[in-house]
Subunit: 159 residues, 3 copies
């Protein structure tokens, strides 16, 4: 009833077409009640929305937009797979940020993805990790690891 | 009885206050019998214990201390969540090390975290991965990914 | 009958001796129906098959060979653990590539690992993520994260 699809609509968020794999893999695999997504990038219609590195060409606001776009792709993949309303929550989000060695403002970038998931799965929150990467595919600034819990309408999992 | 809490006490190890999240996320989420922790950093009272990179300002001994502090934070988060004695073991530990391109002594740093988990969950051991990162949050040298098994007193999982 | 072992033999692929851990950890841990492997490297008989970085000393073809060798090690670890024929599929593959900041051809390297898993577990495919690392253990160019599903002969998990 008031599932993720409804909450996204109420917030004015629209899911894009789910991204196609860039190689020999599938967008997501379900096992043991969890849905493991492939790396989610700021792609739209198969093209990078932006390229560059944090602490160099890109500032945290641009990185945040990239993280937001990748998170919407993650929801689109889940929706095309098990259906978004069968997803109970995001269990684990890891945000990889292409950045200079001097960059330290990881949380500001990662919050762009967390905000999207907060909207879809409110009020449950996810665990989160953030890392700096030497380089991500095709020069993109952000890549997300996302593990979702499926098939459980309510979960006592948050600590 | 002779759970992790008891073993830590016997080894003279004290758990710190669990670290507070640095953004829009929670410290840990339980799903499918696993406890997924957020990225564990060498923080104490909300402040970095040390900053810098391996192969530059920091030597492996300093990195090892950072890994050890982050591992104690992980145990503190688990204890505040499900309670440490309901944790059967560490399933998976990934150690991300902020380092120069020339750094190669990852195992020496990572063993600092593994030793803490060995003490708590002896004699069961974890799987482990180690990576070099371009930069970690707030300039810290080490970040841990930790997945724990909960609710199973004994597990035949080790291979 | 026509399990992974048989398919590898038919393709002329031979499993190496499983790699020994480089520190205080075990090669793999099973929990919740999943088998979590330690970081798989292009090691043979305890020695790196090659060292160097993509976009510097190594081209994508060399990286692809390294990924292939690491994937065969992953299958050898699974075989020594639960037995390869009890593995239903690779759930999740993450490929970490030691590379220069300018490197962008991650998919070409990662496909070297995916091809090995395609052969063993055809026709089911895995989810995949690829990251650029500042440096990997002992200067090696590739490290794999591998999560397998065990104990389920057939799985409807692919989306």
């Amino acid at each position: 009833m008031s599932g993720a699809t409804e909450r996204l609509r109420a917030a004015g968020l629209h899911l894009p077409e789910p991204p196609r794999p860039l190689g020999r893999y599938v967008p997501a695999v379900a096992a043991s009640g969890l849905l493991f997504l492939s790396g989610m990038l700021p792609l739209r219609d198969g093209e990078p929305l932006l390229t560059g590195r944090l602490g160099q060409e890109l500032d945290p606001a641009a990185g945040r937009e990239a993280a937001r776009a990748a998170a919407l792709n993650a929801l689109a993949v889940a929706d095309a797979g098990t259906g978004l309303d069968s997803v109970a929550r995001v269990v684990r989000l890891a945000v990889h940020i292409a950045c200079d060695p001097g960059f330290g403002d990881h949380a500001a970038v990662a919050d762009g993805a967390s905000e999207v998931f907060d909207t879809a799965f409110a009020p449950t929150r996810h665990s989160r990790l953030v890392f700096g990467s030497a380089a991500l595919p095709a020069g993109m600034p952000v890549e997300l690891e996302v593990v979702l819990e499926v098939g459980a309408a309510t979960s006592p999992g948050q600590l």
